[in-house]
């Protein structure tokens, strides 16, 4: 009986170990100037927001933040739209090529991302997409797991819902927009969350596809900044905290769904 009371404590202690690095970003970003060099390390954040305000107002960080926000928002909107449309076609419309498309999507899931970067760059180059916002968004405007997720939810909608719409003369697109998608809210939420995380965290793709400071998202800017001003720990930590906080906020509120989505998404997205 004693052991069972101890487990939650052990569990929490181990779990806290994992977020020490994240916590430390907060400590360094809001601490006093020399905190990084202090031995033994400082453990308490002082919540001096001045460095963060400085980074946001006196450098180009606002621009990078807005780049990331724009790229992420556009990607999310497009992914939800393309996933809902394709998911609907796979779930509700019997057409020749449906099975083929199903397997084509499975194929995309199996393509190793690292091995494709070189030819992808060539394609982007020939499409004149290098150094454009479109390059950050369009290739990620469709999501394999999003399509499977929407398909799965649309299949649960009673057939008669679509039939009554046909009788009443509701067009397919109106039906998808006003009936099917609202009834697949969990699919929308999961797709939005997973796309948000993937898109906000993009690094290698922008590293390869853009060298323009006008376009680069925050992760890429952070990497450049890190190489240029390594010693400036407090600004670096502040910038990292700026890049990190949207993820932390969203995760804080939706961790339950994200964890479920990841567990379900990786194991049985296609059912």
């Amino acid at each position: 009986m004693r052991a069972s009371k101890l487990w939650p404590v052990v569990r929490l202690a181990v779990a806290l170990l994992f977020i020490i690095p994240v916590y430390w970003i907060l400590v360094l970003a809001t601490g006093y100037h020399g905190a990084v060099y202090h031995l033994p390390p400082v453990w308490v954040p002082l919540f001096h927001w001045a460095p963060m305000v400085y980074v946001l107002t006196h450098t180009h960080w606002m621009r990078y933040v807005l780049n990331s926000v724009g790229i992420t928002t556009a990607t999310i909107v497009l992914v939800v739209a393309t996933s809902a449309l394709a998911g609907y076609a796979l779930a509700e419309i019997p057409f020749k090529g449906q099975t083929a498309y199903f397997f084509l999507i499975l194929g995309v899931m199996m393509l190793p991302a690292q091995a494709l970067l070189v030819p992808q760059y060539v394609v982007m180059f020939h499409l004149h997409l290098i150094n454009t916002y479109a390059a950050m968004v369009v290739p990620f405007a469709a999501s394999t797991s999003g399509i499977f997720l929407f398909r799965q939810f649309f299949k649960k909608i009673p057939v008669s819902f679509g039939e009554i719409a046909r009788i009443e003369g509701v067009s397919t697109l109106t039906y998808i927009r006003r009936v099917a998608v609202p009834l697949a809210k969990p699919a929308v939420a999961t797709t939005v969350l997973l796309t948000f995380i993937a898109s906000w965290n993009q690094f290698q793709w922008p590293l390869i596809m853009t060298n323009s400071p006008q376009i680069q998202p925050i992760e890429l800017a952070l990497s450049h900044y890190m190489q240029a001003y390594e010693a400036n720990w407090r600004e670096l930590a502040s910038a990292a905290l700026i890049a990190l906080s949207p993820i932390l906020l969203v995760f804080g509120f939706t961790q339950r769904y994200i964890v479920q989505a990841v567990a379900g998404g990786d194991l049985n997205a296609k059912d």
Partner: protein, 380 residues
Amino acid sequence: MARVTFRRVMKTFGSHDVLSPLSFEVADGEFFVIVGPSGSGKSTTLRLVAGLERPSQGEIYFDTERVDQWPAHTRDVGMVFQNYAIYPHMSVYSNMSFGLEAQRTPKHTIAQRVQQVAALLEIEQLLPKRPGELSGGQKQRVALGRALVRNPRVFLMDEPLSNLDAQLRDHMRTEIRLLHDRLKITTIYVTHDQTEAMTMADRIMVMDQGRIQQIGTPAEIYAHPSTIFVAKFFGSPSMNIVSGRIAVDKNVAWFHPAHSPETPIPLPTSVSTLLPEDSTSHTIYMGFRPEDIVPKPLTNAFAFAFVPTTIESLGSHCQTHGHWHHHPISLTHRTPESFQRHQETRLSVPWSGIHWFAGEAGSRITVPDPDDVRQEVLTP
């Protein structure tokens, strides 16, 4: 409102015939019930009218317009599904107005129509509510309302009452029928429930395995079932059927029941002359309804020995089950004390209460009396 005509309509899925050629007509303003067991093709027939399916062959007319290739929404039908198909994320009002909006009806016309129909169905106070807050009966009304808002030429209902509990079902049955009497919209109503068919229909179409078994008024269908299937489908307990053979001996026709061939029953000439000449060569079925059995021996009637096994008193009458030489027989009668369990008694059925069937399909073989209503069976 419209007359609906089917002309040799066939439906095949792959190599499987779901409907053999169907021809029938539903009159303008009629309440037409299609009844049959699952897999009989009744729902497919309804979906063909709605435009949710296209016939593989044949034609469907609304009045004089051929509609079988028209898309569903151009046919002006209102449909009520078994699960009501009410969108759970929309208010009752939005559910009712959704179809009209999609067809770009002016907003004030929509509001007017919805209010009008809601008043008719007495669901005005439900309009702002979500379907989740409604009871089964209320959902049923909303589904009716959504179909009515469109001013349909034909009203289609697919098992609309089967999701309700028994009491509510009885109530809604009456209500739908009264609604029809007020609005006089041509209605095609699909059900597997014989009670709904008998109580609601102007005319019933009985289907089995993709074929029309019989079309007629409830009274006709009950009194003159055209097949064993129809005979057994209506009535509870269902009609007793005894198979056997006819043999002629000493100028008298005898019916040899299959379960006890050694006790043949002589048929009076009034009956035997009605039977066709080839009756001796194949199996003949005799059928009699439980309520046509008289629990005492009668003269000039068909009589047999009966051993009751269970006697159920239902208050107004009794249902007794037992057997005649190990062949199960059910009857209904007034007085519970007519029988003692396991004690053989003699029962009789007046010859006029006996139906004769023959052939693989079990078709009715009696030539009806001239003053009987003329039957037309359209099964090809």
